[in-house]
Point group: C2
Chain length 351, copies 2
């Protein structure tokens, strides 16, 4: 990802929401890189570790004002996002409580999937005007995220989505500049779109997150290879249902998450693909059903499990959605060359 | 649930897996009640709090032997379950490492949904024989769980499933007794079946878990009323997409879980039903989509959100599946009569 952004001449602002780990971020988002966070708890922990340029990429709500101010008091350059004149009005009303300037960006709706103002929406200028004229606030610019890229199954459609994402944030930035509100932050990105081909001219930065480990959703889209996936759940065979050719494992949805994000993919991986303990994919085997602490492993063609699935055998499950699977844990066990190291990396959970 | 079991003259062994909280269990599973756990981490924490009769209701795997022995050393009467001759062989081989006797029950497959031996399977006697003749092991009996009750949408089918669950564990117990292996534990249950009508004659105990708070799955089945649900996620309105009549909230799947267990119900609640801050259901409003930290709230008839959904408004979301939603947190904020108390109840997460 770093090479991709460097080749395109655009700064990378990694999103640390997948692993939420300082130790992992030291690899893919080393200091003094700017980062993106999904919670103020992440912002707090990363600020304490020395990260100084942080984008909180979820629309700010009034009840988070005290947490935001505490970060500013720790000399963090924090950028928050809003996407309505209502949010701008409340933020501006409360801004006098801030001890230091807060950077505010406007979220742009680039694909109709979630939050954000359309690039041509007239409220865009009204929001910028309100922010720019409020002491303690600094109008930073615009950011957009093409979540729709998770529905792009080939390179052509990903390239188109990447171009659309860039064009929409650039159009918004142009409209703002024309109205007298130039943008220093013009930010776009998702793992599939940043890895796609598109002109990035005019962007100030790109953002991506799940590339930290990749997962079966990304592999299913063709964004990575299955062998690129760097996160797995270690589990043990606890039984069988021989009539049904089932292998039962002690990893249910509590261990794997309830995410079934490959359900509409050409290859539905259920709750995860099955590997041996060394991480080699056991072709055709997947977690078909889960209860809280039970997983049911089956083969796609219904074949009978052999001795690779004997009672007590350790297996690894590749995650459907790394962000969701990782969220079920409070720390990671680190492996290198398929061997466990003694390292344990804590996660920053909660809000 | 306690009244239901008392009326039927059967002991209740609550499953504490939904809330995993000592403070919550003090209400519905007070000492010295026997309890059921889904992880050995729960067993450890509850043992330290004084619980002495604990059933670990997930098929034991060999790699958990040291944890099991540590519990026995703390004078816990621990019952583990197995469901195969392979598991029995490994357990018996390792049993000499145990410092105190371990109680072993056989899981009975009562509905073809998950783990367990069929009541008429000949391996049943072989497992019991192996366990009963191994020093350090005590053959305890049988247990079954009718997970299929989550597919029973009326009282008649629930009653039938409850009867089936009881009959299958009783049949297994009879077959074992006839072979010379009498069962002291004859255990059955799930929240829907324990609340149903069936003869419990011969059972030694019933188990249930999610009744601790109930959830939208249980309400959708008719097992409880929506007003019985005692768990909610407090969230804030962070924006709108006016063209689509969407309200955006800061509770995505990280806050609500990825569970969509009402998808096949007559009323699909998406990722949760929406209440005002006091917990009053706002009729027709539900969380239709989620991203990691964003939820999209819509009305079933597509109506435009009014001032009840203004930017900054606090809402509560009722959980689709309480076990999964609660698992996204490390503690609970306790309310009484819709007011926050200052109590915070920690969860016992992990394994």
């Amino acid at each position: 990802m770093a090479q991709q952004c460097e080749a395109q001449g655009v700064a990378l602002r990694p999103h640390i929401k997948t692993l939420k780990s300082l130790e992992a971020a030291a690899i893919y988002a080393p200091l003094p890189m700017p980062i993106t966070v999904s919670t103020l708890a992440e912002a707090r922990a990363f600020a304490e570790a020395g990260y100084q340029d942080i984008l909180y990429a979820v629309g700010l709500s009034p009840n988070k004002f005290a947490q935001v101010n505490a970060l500013l008091n720790d000399a963090v350059t924090l950028t928050v996002v809003i996407d309505s004149t209502d949010a701008a009005a409340q933020l501006c009303d409360q801004a006098h409580q801030l001890d230091h300037p807060l950077r505010v960006a406007i979220e742009i709706d680039v694909d109709g999937q979630r939050a954000g103002v359309a690039a041509i929406d007239e409220s865009l200028i009204a929001i910028a005007a309100k922010v720019a004229t409020t002491p303690s606030l600094t109008f930073a610019g615009v950011m957009g995220h093409a979540g729709a890229s998770y529905g792009c199954f080939d390179a052509v459609s990903r390239d188109q989505m990447a171009q659309q994402e860039c064009q929409q944030v650039l159009l918004a930035a142009k409209n703002l500049a024309d109205a007298g509100y130039p943008c220093t932050m013009i930010s776009a990105g998702s793992t599939p779109t940043v890895l796609a081909s598109a002109s990035r001219e005019g962007l100030s930065e790109m953002r991506a997150g799940v590339y930290a480990t990749f997962d079966l959703v990304m592999a299913g889209l063709g964004v990575c290879a299955y062998s690129d996936i760097a996160l797995s759940v270690l589990t043990c065979v606890i039984g069988h249902q021989k009539d049904k050719h089932w292998v039962l494992i002690d990893a249910g949805w509590m261990a794997l998450s309830r995410d079934t994000g490959t359900q509409n993919h050409p290859l539905d991986c259920g709750y995860g693909l099955v590997c041996d303990e060394q991480g080699k994919i056991l072709e055709g085997w997947y977690v078909a059903h889960t209860n809280q602490e039970h997983g049911v492993v089956k083969h796609r063609d219904g074949r009978t499990p052999d001795e690779s699935f004997a009672y007590g055998t350790m297996l690894r499950i590749l995650p459907v959605h790394a962000c969701a699977t990782a969220a079920q844990y409070h720390s990671y066990h680190v492996t290198q060359d398929n061997e466990h190291t003694h390292a344990s990396w804590p996660r920053i959970n909660g809000w």
